[in-house]
Amino acid sequence: MQSQMPLYPEQASNFAPQVDNLVYFMIAVCVFFAVVICAAVVYFIFKYQRKTPDEIGVAIHGDLRLEIAWIVLPFPLLLVMFGWGAAIYVDYRHTPTDTLDVYVIGKQWMWKLQQPDGRKEINELHVPVGRNVRLIMGSEDVIHDFSVPSFRVKMDVVPGHYNTMWFRPTKVGKYHFFCSQYCGTDHAVMGGWVTVMEPDEYAKWLSGSSGSGDPVAIGQKLYSELACNTCHLPDGKGRGPSYNGVYLSQVQLADGSTVLADDNYIRESILQPNAKIVAGYVPAMPSFQGLVTEEQIVDLTAYIKSLKDQPPPAKPGAAAPATGNK
């Protein structure tokens, strides 16, 4: 990102300039009042410093005109702040009709998103520049919040009903999105990137080939992009087993049997995770069927293979937390 310290995030949506303009106005008004008060305090305390220990001040009990003045005069300013803010908010809460609808599901601690044509993403959102985008958001478990600082928008994602939000990206680029409502252990890593693309790039992406490259590197990238890394920690203390040294080893299953961890086992574990449960873990992993392409499975398998010679954790699954998973 920027090398020097930025004072505001990039303006990348229709709301960003509106919010920034309002904030400049508010800062101006507030700095004015803060400066007036502080200047008065500083001036008074030096001007009216006590000269002798037994001196008393001039008894002034108040002034009705002053009181009325400082109750009434700032009031129009407050009304402007209120009205301006409310105008932006009402606009934000009333979605235009011509939107590109993206479904967003929050789950402890990952985001699943689905483009209008059914293409699914995890912790990634691709949108075309200049189109109104509506996010229709639900939660699988607790309250989350989808927040994109560069767009100046956020909205809670509440279990039990859908919330919606909208924005129009105005600048091509990659922007952070965060989970902004505290949702448990990995709240801080429940985020990702919004990629704003030129419309033709977006169309190309939708019909999409993912480029070529070293499968291990791509697999390692997928490992974090698909949020595998939030559960499958290298030390085996996450909610899922470690990948270290697992390839071609005999895996002890929860039902007592063992299985050879070959390519087919890995594929099955990604697509039907609950078919074979490793001893010491609870079935908590969602299916990635339809979320990953065959190509990506190959890449992920390549990455897991590359960890073959890493030392496996000493006591697998010693501390699998029993999260209240429905």
Binding site: D63, P149, N163, Q181
Partner: protein, 560 residues
Amino acid sequence: MATTELHVPSGEKMPREHYLNATYGIRSWLLTTDHKRIAILYLISVTFFFFVGGLFASLIRIHLLTPGGYLVTPETYNKLFTMHGVAMIFFFLIPSIPAVLGNFVIPIMIGAKDLAFPKINLLSWYIYLVGGAFVLYSFATGGLDTGWTFYTPLSSIYSNSAVTPAVIGIFINGFSSILTGLNFIVTVHTMRAPGMTWMRLPLFVWAHYATSIIFVLGTPVIAITLLLAGLERMFHLGFFNPAYGGDPILFQHLFWFYSHPAVYIMILPAMGVISEIIPTFARKPIFGYDFIAASSIGIAVIGFIVWAHHMFLTGQSTYSAVAFSFLTFLVAVPSAVKVFNWTSTLYKGSIAFDTPMLYGLGFIGLFTIGGLTGLFLACLGLDIHLHDTYFVVAHFHYIMVGGAIMGYLGGIHYWWPKITGRLYPEFLARIAAIVLFIGFNLTFFPQFILGYLGMPRRYHDYPPEYQVLNVMSTAGASILALGYLLPMIYLTWSMRYGKVAGKNPWPATGLEWTTDSPPLTENFAETPVVDWEVYDFEHRPELGLRGAIARKPLPTHGDD
């Protein structure tokens, strides 16, 4: 800084008999019904919780030095900020000024021998202890990782931490607040000395009266809310559980119905302290007494109808959000009235820079920043961007630390001679006040910028571009920590070695300064009669100030 030495005659001696030496032994303290001793018990217990909460805060700040967050695991980090919040809010900030300073001085200020219900006052302290014990048990056995807001369904269904004992502890502690508030309301109504009319009540008492209204009307709601969440967790009942069709947002409505006014529980008493300190050290009547008194009540009442501004982005109806935003802007009016009046009080005063006054002046500045940034959050359009970011964290720390704790420390220094009969080392105390002011701003000002940049709160890990500001904040926090340790040391030292203060070292006009320091168990040798107006130096020749003239006898009957 001008040297305006206190004119304490050097020959002052401690009174022969006072509340501290009236009886001895641990029983005489644990079974006391003397409001002053109960205040001391509270002082010790809230200080304990302050340091518990402060320890968690230090660990949080150290952890946030680097983006990766290597000091503690995510689970531990979440527990740290939750326990920091719970300890500080429910067990330090809410009881701090009312239960310590309010308990000690309100009865003396109104010329009563004690609060209306001394035994209930002691009971409040024990309830506080029991509640505190439950919460400490929760901290010790697995901790608490729901955030101090206990949002459902995270707290009621999904969290694996020790939520149940914490919820029980806070539920119990609520009754301590309720009983304290009840005691104050009744005391102010029925226990005033002859001549102590409503319009002669010190503003500290007005502020506590307003606070007590919130205690009494708000606290039962948090009690029932947490009880319902606890029942949901313990017995699988459903009130907010989406699986039964319940609405988690309903919990937030109930929670904030109390917890927003609770902010005023923290700040109103601090405003009361400042309203005492400023006239004393400007040596003149406070400017606009009735407006400050009315604004306290105004804040307490309007404070009850703004709560849903915490919920603008939960899916609340647009109409409701607009209404709540408007009401929130209204609270700015009484708050601003206070600031303007304090500032005007300085005009043509005789201003001294004793330690309490330094806290008072610091309070005005910090509260102004805290209050003005509140407008940003009340403003709907900005809240979309700022909600749940570090901007919010910075804002409420300016109110709660910059406001409430500065007020608390100012009050402790102001009444310390009354509580202990001795003065603290003035030079050290001024240094500490300045260190606190600098440390505080360095800690929390960068967080406003962090928030505007979009850093969400409650993050154990953050993108690297936020690091510079986080390092500044942590550096400030270390200065702040030093600032808190200093008063602990010199105040403790002064209890034994401090200079004897005498009845009225500043001098100040309140009734509490007409009795011994420390006062008798009954506060006054005989029931005082008030025949002077509040904060009046001009007609108080007994204070020994130049130019004071004798007062005409005033009618002494009450106006109740």
